[in-house]
């Protein structure tokens, strides 16, 4: 078996998610190559070469792959896929955008967001917002898979894989990059943070999210939100935790003014310890919370910040 892992990277750096996908590849077993696609990605390739378990890093460094638009990136992976039994990427918005396109180009199914590997062709994945876990078996010769990073512990960084260039340049006259508006934050990335504190509709407005800042500073936490808070315009979309937002599984998740709809729980119920602060003692979030505090958040948050 030989496995190709698409590297995830942002702002010129290899994203931590890649080490989790390599771990999923190790669970499948076989030679593991990492594909680094993008423009000016030399340093990223060097970082990928250090990941444990990687045999080779293949680098497609070309303007055609800047921003990893789906059309050229899928064409590139489809071009390389003949050498592999599995193609893996993390279930980021990049992986979700590109891998189904690769699968269809190769006329095979795609398996989304696996959380466990049973064997080289059998995987576990959540369905129905995580309210059921399916075990699925692929009969396709090529398995194209996205990996939920919270399901696999990251590999270490003691490797020194060979790095080689890929010459293939995909034509793309159909799509062009216009612009990106990325959230700027000094806080840890939501998906990777050890502590996450999220606010919901109960926060009342965007300004009140500042009440979470001091606590997040003290705990080194990332700040998340429910969809209701995002929809109400309190905070940007990239903060949404849930079935259709980000999936997180930190050591500590603090839900503030969040009722606990199944779509929200889908994104955080694998956290190690869950704290809920809500003024409604009947709120469903208390059913999954290890520690529930029935309180008005406007009183509880300043006190919590002070006592930490």
């Amino acid at each position: 078996m030989s496995i190709l892992v698409l590297a995830e990277h942002h702002d010129g750096a290899l994203a931590g998610a890649t080490a989790h996908v390599v771990a999923a590849a190790q669970a499948i077993g076989g030679d593991i190559d990492v594909l680094v696609a993008g423009e000016n990605v030399g340093a990223i390739a060097e970082a990928a070469a250090k990941l444990d378990g990687v045999s080779k890093v293949r680098v497609a460094d070309n303007a055609a792959y800047a921003h990893l638009l789906a059309e050229p990136t899928a064409a590139l992976i489809a071009e390389l896929a003949g050498d592999y039994s599995h193609v893996l990427a993390c279930a980021s918005t990049t992986g979700k955008n590109v891998l189904p396109r690769v699968a269809a180009l190769k006329d095979v199914a795609q398996i989304s967001e696996i959380i466990a590997v049973e064997s080289a062709d059998t995987f576990k994945r959540p369905i129905y917002a995580g309210n059921a876990i399916a075990t699925v078996q692929s009969e396709d010769a090529l398995k194209v898979i996205t990996v939920r990073t919270t399901g696999f512990d990251a590999v270490g960084e003691g490797g020194s894989a060979a790095v080689e260039a890929v010459d293939f340049v995909a034509d793309n006259a159909q799509s062009t990059f216009v612009k990106e508006e990325l959230a700027q934050s000094d806080r840890p990335e939501l998906g990777a943070a050890k502590v996450v504190i999220s606010g919901g509709r109960g926060m009342g407005n965007g300004d009140n999210f500042k009440l979470l800042d001091g606590i997040a500073d003290k705990l080194g936490a990332a700040i998340g939100a429910s969809r209701a808070a995002v929809d109400a315009g309190f905070v940007p979309n990239d903060m949404q935790v849930g079935q259709t937002g980000k999936i997180v599984a930190p050591d500590l998740y603090i839900a503030v003014g969040i009722s606990g709809a199944i779509q929200h729980l889908a994104g955080m119920k694998d956290s190690k310890v869950i704290v809920a602060i809500n003024k409604d003692e009947e709120a469903p979030i208390f059913q999954v919370a290890d520690y529930g505090l029935v309180a008005d958040l406007f009183e509880a948050l300043p006190e919590l910040e002070q006592k930490l």
Partner: protein, 250 residues
């Protein structure tokens, strides 16, 4: 410009699902079904494009059992002009649906196809991307804004770090994210009128496609239940428990 909208019949998003006792699948008997929420957003977007004079005709399509005609009728009530039902009782997943949809794109030649980003039953998030591959068209996934101008579509996409805007040549495939629009409700007179709108029924065989999924569903289990925890009486008690019992803060 003709717009094709793909809608899927799924469990209503408010329903708490149960796994069948034999672990073969989720139990859907007597469960309330509805149009996938992301498909409602797709239909709404098509209707708004028509209201703005950009779209001239809206064709709603689904691949699924006879009962899925209910969701096509809903789409017709919301403003679609006609519907196509690819009828099958097979377990259809994204690749099979995309293959059937690709044939319909070939027949109908739409300028734009709008799908949901994700069906809330399988949580696959694949069909639009696969349809784009099969038709050789560009894709704008997870859209929070779509602007059609001069044979191009500018699509603003919700990505992990924020927003990304891409420009696509038309025809193109777009998949909807939650913030693209807020879907309207169908009005009673429109629901009545929808009954008279045309609905074509085809079989996968007529389209020359195989829609059954090649991924075997071996087993479905409920997730590990979380133990309900305790209520704490004060912030002090909370901080104490986090430090000394859970040991997640220092």
């Amino acid at each position: 410009m003709k717009v094709l909208v793909a809608v899927k019949r799924v469990i209503d998003y408010n329903v708490k699902i149960r796994v069948k006792p034999d672990n073969s699948d989720v139990d859907l008997t007597n469960v309330k079904m509805a149009m996938n929420p992301f498909c409602e957003i797709a239909v709404e977007e098509a209707v708004r494009l028509k209201e703005r004079g950009v779209a001239t005709e809206i064709v709603a399509v689904t691949v699924g059992p006879k009962a899925a005609q209910e969701q096509l009728r809903t789409a017709l009530a919301l403003g679609a002009d006609r519907a196509i039902h690819v009828e099958t009782d097979e377990r259809v997943e994204s690749l099979g649906a995309a293959k059937a949809l690709a044939k319909l794109v070939e027949e109908e030649q739409p300028g734009l196809v709008i799908l949901g980003k994700q069906a809330i039953d399988t949580d696959n998030n694949q069909t639009g991307q696969m349809l784009a591959a099969l038709t050789g068209l560009p894709q704008g996934t997870f859209a929070s804004e779509v602007v059609i101008d001069n044979d191009k579509a500018q699509v603003t996409r919700e990505i992990d770090g924020g927003l990304q805007t891409v420009e696509l040549s038309l025809p193109a495939i777009v998949t909807t994210d939650l913030r693209l629009n807020e879907p309207r409700y169908a009005k009673l007179p429109d629901i009545m009128k929808a009954k008279k709108k045309p609905m074509d029924v085809k079989s996968p065989a007529e389209l020359g496609v195989e829609v059954a999924s090649k991924v075997k569903l071996l087993r479905v289990e409920p997730p590990a239940e979380r133990q309900g925890g305790v209520k704490v009486g004060s912030v002090d008690e909370l901080v104490d428990k986090l430090k000394n019992e859970a040991k997640v803060i220092s």
